[in-house]
C-alpha cells in the first residue's frame, strides 16, 4: 500500500471535511454528527493503512460505516429489537473470524467478513427502502439520499467482493468515489437547511405583513367610528385572509351569562351542535342560527377553549373524532379548525376561530401561529377600546356639565332681597364646576318670600333642566298658591314623568310672611329645616314626610306652620356641608354646624355665614369638596 495510491482518498477526505465544517454551522438535524463520525473512521482507517497495511482494516471499517449509517437512520425512526439481534449476530460472526485467524487463510476470512458486511448493507438497504416520511422526524434528507446510499454501498461491496482491496481500480476509483456519497449527503443537508431558513424567513415576513395590514385596517376603522362589532368583523376578515379559511367568527363573552355571543361572522360558520331541521335548510338561516344561539362556556370545542383558555387546533377534523357533528360531508362539514382565546391580563374577552370547510383542506402550524399573533393583538385592541369608551363616556358627562354650568349661572339669584324684619345670606360651592344643588329665593307680591333649597340627582344638562323646571313652576304658582305643601305637590306633579327618574330632586321649602312672621315649611326628602329659637336657645329640626320630587306623581306632602321671633335663625343646607370631610375622612357633620350656630347666634346672617365658611374651610383643610355645598341662613331681626 503506497502513499500515491492513498492520495485520492485523502483528497476526498479533505473535501469532506470542508463540507462538514460548513454543514456544522447549520442547525437542521443531527446529520453532521454522524457524518463527522464517518469522517473520523475514514481518516483513521486511511492513516492506519499507511503504517499498518492490514487487509482486515477495510472490511471492519466498512462495517463501522454501515453501523453509523444505520444509527443515523434509526435516530429518525427509533430502534427496533431486530436491529440489536442482527448487529450482535454479525459482530459475533466477524469477531469469531478475526480472532481465530488460524481457522481459514487470510483471503477466505476477508471474503467471509465482506459477506457479513454485505449482509449488513442489505439490511440497511431494506431499512432505507421501507423508510416512511410519515413516521420519521425530518425525513427529507433520508428520502432524498436513500437511493444514492443503497446504490453506492452495494456497488462498492460487490466490487470489493469481486476484485478485493488490492486491485488498482478499486483502490484509486471505487473507494474514493464512495467517499463522495458522504459529501453528497452533506451537500443535500446544506441545501435543506438553507431552504428551511428561507421558509422561516418567508413565514416570518408573511406574519409581519399580516399584522401590519391588520393594524392599518384596524386603525382606519377606529378613526371612523368606535364600534366593537365592526372592529371584530375586521379582525375576523383579517384572520380569514391570513389563514385562507372558509369561515371565521369572533365570539365575545356575555357579561351577564356564561355564554359566548358570535359578534362577528365571516363566511358560513356552521353551528357545532345539532340544530332544528328548520335551521339547516339554507346557509343564510344557518348563519343567523349561529349568531342568535350563544354557546355556553364549556360546551362544544369553542366553549372548551373559553373555559380552558388554551388554543385549539384540529388539523383533520374528520379523523380526529372530537367534532363528530361536523365530520359528515353535509352543510355542517368542518375539515379543519383553529380556535384561540382572546385573553388580556388573565381576563377572557372571547374566542376567535377560523374553519376550513372542504374535505382534504387543512390548516398548517403556520396558520395557527399567525392566528395566535393576530389574536394577541386583537385582545389588546378590544380591551383598549373598552377602556377608551369608558373614558369617552366620562368626557361626555364633563362636556354636558359645562353647558349646565351656564344654565345654572342664570338661575342663581343675583341679589338677595332686603326685608324689614329679616336678612339673608347664602353661599354655594359647586364641587366639579357645576352644581346639583339648587337654591332659589323668590319675592312674592307684597310681604312674603319663598325660600327653596334642593339637590337634583345627577349633573349636567338634564339636572339643570330639572332646576329650570322647578324654578319656572315656582315663579308661576307662588303668587296664587302659597301653601307650602301644595307648592311642593305642584312641583312634583309638574315634573314627575317629564324627567328621567334618576334626575329626581329633594327639596326643602318655606315661605316667610314679613307681617305675621309666620313660617310655613314643607319638605320633599331633603335635610330638615334648622330652626334656632332665641327664646329657648335651642335648635329644632323641622321635618315633614314625603318622597323626593320626580318619583311618583301622587306623592303626598305635608307642612308645618310656626312663627318666629327676632333673633331666631332659619338654616337650610345640602349634603355637601354636613358631609364635607377632613383629611382623615371624617365628616363635618350636622353637630359641628349646630355648634357653630349656637356659638354665634348674636351675629347677622352674613357674619354667621362667614364664620361657618371659615370653620368648614379650616376643617376640610386642603381636601377638595366631594359634593356641592350650599347653605342658606335667614336671620329674623
Amino acid at each position: 500500500m503506497d502513499f500515491t495510491a492513498a492520495l485520492p482518498r485523502f483528497f476526498a477526505e479533505v473535501f469532506l471535511l470542508l463540507l462538514w465544517l460548513a454543514a456544522l454551522k447549520k442547525k437542521w438535524d443531527r446529520t453532521p454528527v454522524f457524518i463527522g463520525w464517518i469522517i473520523v473512521i475514514l481518516v483513521l482507517r486511511d492513516a492506519a493503512v499507511l503504517f499498518y497495511p492490514s487487509e482486515y482494516l477495510f472490511p471492519l471499517s466498512n462495517l463501522l460505516l454501515v453501523a453509523v449509517y444505520f444509527i443515523w437512520i434509526r435516530s429518525k425512526t427509533g430502534f427496533r429489537n431486530l436491529d440489536i439481534a442482527f448487529f450482535s449476530f454479525s459482530a459475533a460472526v466477524i469477531a469469531f473470524i478475526v480472532l481465530d485467524m488460524t481457522l481459514l487463510n487470510l483471503a477466505v476470512s476477508i471474503f467471509y467478513i465482506d459477506l457479513a458486511v454485505f449482509a449488513a448493507m442489505v439490511y440497511l438497504a431494506l431499512l432505507l427502502g421501507v423508510f416512511s416520511e410519515f413516521t420519521s422526524e425530518k425525513p427529507e434528507i433520508v428520502i432524498r439520499t436513500r437511493f444514492a446510499i443503497i446504490a453506492v454501498m452495494l456497488l462498492y461491496q460487490v466490487s470489493v467482493l469481486l476484485y478485493g482491496y488490492s486491485n488498482q481500480f478499486s483502490v484509486s476509483v471505487v473507494m474514493p468515489a464512495s467517499y463522495l456519497l458522504h459529501g453528497y449527503i452533506l451537500y443535500l443537508y446544506l441545501g435543506l437547511a438553507s431552504e428551511e431558513d428561507q421558509n422561516t424567513l418567508k413565514a416570518f415576513r408573511g406574519d409581519v405583513e399580516a399584522l401590519f395590514e391588520f393594524m392599518s385596517s384596524m386603525g382606519s376603522a377606529i378613526a371612523e367610528k368606535i364600534d366593537i362589532p365592526s372592529i371584530l368583523n375586521i379582525i375576523v376578515q383579517s384572520a380569514l385572509r391570513n389563514t385562507a379559511a372558509d369561515a371565521g367568527t369572533a365570539l365575545i363573552v356575555d357579561k351577564y351569562e356564561d355564554k359566548l355571543n358570535a359578534e362577528a361572522i365571516q363566511g358560513i360558520y356552521p353551528p357545532l351542535s345539532p340544530v332544528p331541521d328548520i335551521a339547516s335548510v339554507n346557509p343564510t338561516v344557518l348563519k343567523d342560527y349561529f349568531r342568535s344561539h350563544p354557546i355556553p362556556i364549556g360546551q362544544t370545542v369553542l366553549g372548551e377553549v373559553a373555559k380552558s383558555g388554551d388554543s385549539l387546533f384540529i388539523r383533520d377534523v374528520i379523523s380526529d373524532g372530537r367534532m363528530e357533528f361536523n365530520s359528515e360531508n353535509n352543510i355542517f362539514l368542518i375539515s379543519s379548525i383553529i380556535a384561540i382565546p382572546l385573553i388580556v391580563s388573565k381576563r377572557l374577552l372571547g374566542v376567535i376561530s377560523v374553519v376550513k370547510r372542504a374535505e382534504g383542506q387543512f390548516f398548517s402550524e403556520q396558520d395557527l401561529s399567525r392566528l395566535q399573533t393576530l389574536a394577541e393583538f386583537a385582545s389588546v385592541t378590544i380591551d383598549t377600546l373598552y377602556t377608551y369608551m369608558e373614558v369617552l363616556e366620562k368626557r361626555q358627562i364633563d362636556r354636558e356639565i359645562g353647558i349646565a354650568a351656564q344654565i345654572q349661572d342664570k338661575l342663581i339669584p343675583k341679589q338677595l332681597p332686603e326685608l324689614k324684619v329679616a336678612n339673608f345670606a347664602f353661599f354655594s360651592n359647586p364641587a366639579r364646576g357645576v352644581s346639583g344643588d339648587y337654591f332659589d329665593l323668590i319675592e312674592l307680591d307684597s310681604h312674603k318670600v319663598g325660600v327653596v333649597i334642593g339637590d337634583v340627582a345627577g349633573k349636567g344638562v338634564p339636572a339643570s333642566l330639572v332646576m329650570v323646571m322647578i324654578h319656572s313652576i315656582l315663579q308661576l304658582i307662588l303668587n296664587s298658591e302659597d301653601e307650602a305643601y301644595k307648592v311642593i305637590s305642584w312641583i312634583n306633579r309638574g315634573i314627575t314623568g317629564k324627567i328621567d327618574i334618576d334626575h329626581y330632586a329633594t327639596l326643602s321649602f318655606f315661605t316667610f310672611d314679613e307681617e305675621t312672621r309666620e313660617v310655613v315649611y314643607s319638605n320633599a326628602a331633603h335635610h330638615p329645616l334648622m330652626f334656632y329659637s332665641k327664646k329657648m336657645n335651642k335648635i329644632y329640626r323641622v321635618e315633614t314626610r314625603g318622597l323626593p320630587i320626580g318619583i311618583e306623581k301622587n306623592s303626598t306632602y305635608h307642612q308645618k306652620r310656626f312663627t318666629v321671633e327676632p333673633g331666631d335663625l332659619l338654616i337650610l343646607y345640602t349634603d355637601g356641608i354636613v358631609e364635607a370631610m377632613n383629611p382623615e375622612g371624617v365628616q363635618y357633620s350636622r353637630k359641628s354646624l349646630e355648634r357653630m350656630i349656637l356659638q354665634n347666634t348674636h351675629l347677622s346672617a352674613r357674619k354667621l355665614m362667614d364664620k361657618i365658611k371659615a370653620d368648614l374651610h379650616e376643617y376640610t383643610g386642603r381636601e377638595k369638596p366631594m359634593d356641592d355645598q350650599t347653605l342658606v341662613i335667614m336671620k329674623v331681626t
Partner: protein, 115 residues
C-alpha cells in the same frame, strides 16, 4: 365601581362594589336595560360592598326600580347599610324600594314568585 353578575336559578344577583356616584352610576342603568331586553324577571341588587352613594347613585337605583316595575319584573335590594342606608333614609326612600336584609333572604322571598 365594579358590577358583577351571578345567578341563582332564574334570579340574577347584581353585586356592586365601590362608590355609586355620578361617574359610575350609569353602568348599573346600562346593565339592567340590557337585562330587561333579555327578559330577565327576577333581580337582586347587592349593596354589601358599597360604602358610598351619592344622589346619582340613588338615582340609578330609582331608575332601575321604576324601569323594572313598568315591566312587572321583580327587584329586591339587599345589604343596605352604613352611609348608603343614611342617604336612602334621608331621601325617604326606605319604604319605596323593596329592601331585604341580605341576598339569601332576597332569594327566599323571590323563589315562591317564580312559576
Amino acid at each position: 365601581m365594579e358590577i358583577k353578575l351571578r345567578r341563582n336559578a332564574q334570579i340574577f344577583i347584581i353585586d356592586i362594589e365601590g362608590d355609586m356616584d355620578l361617574y359610575q352610576a350609569y353602568k348599573l342603568k346600562e346593565l339592567v336595560a340590557k337585562m330587561i331586553q333579555k327578559n330577565i324577571v327576577y333581580y337582586v341588587i347587592n349593596l354589601e360592598k358599597v360604602d358610598y352613594i351619592d344622589s346619582s347613585g340613588v338615582g340609578a337605583l330609582l331608575y332601575v326600580h321604576s324601569a323594572l316595575k313598568k315591566q312587572k319584573m321583580k327587584l329586591l335590594i339587599a345589604n343596605v347599610h352604613g352611609s348608603v342606608k343614611d342617604v336612602i333614609n334621608l331621601t325617604q326612600l326606605m319604604d319605596y324600594f323593596n329592601i331585604t336584609k341580605d341576598v339569601n333572604t332576597a332569594i327566599q322571598e323571590l323563589k315562591p314568585l317564580i312559576t
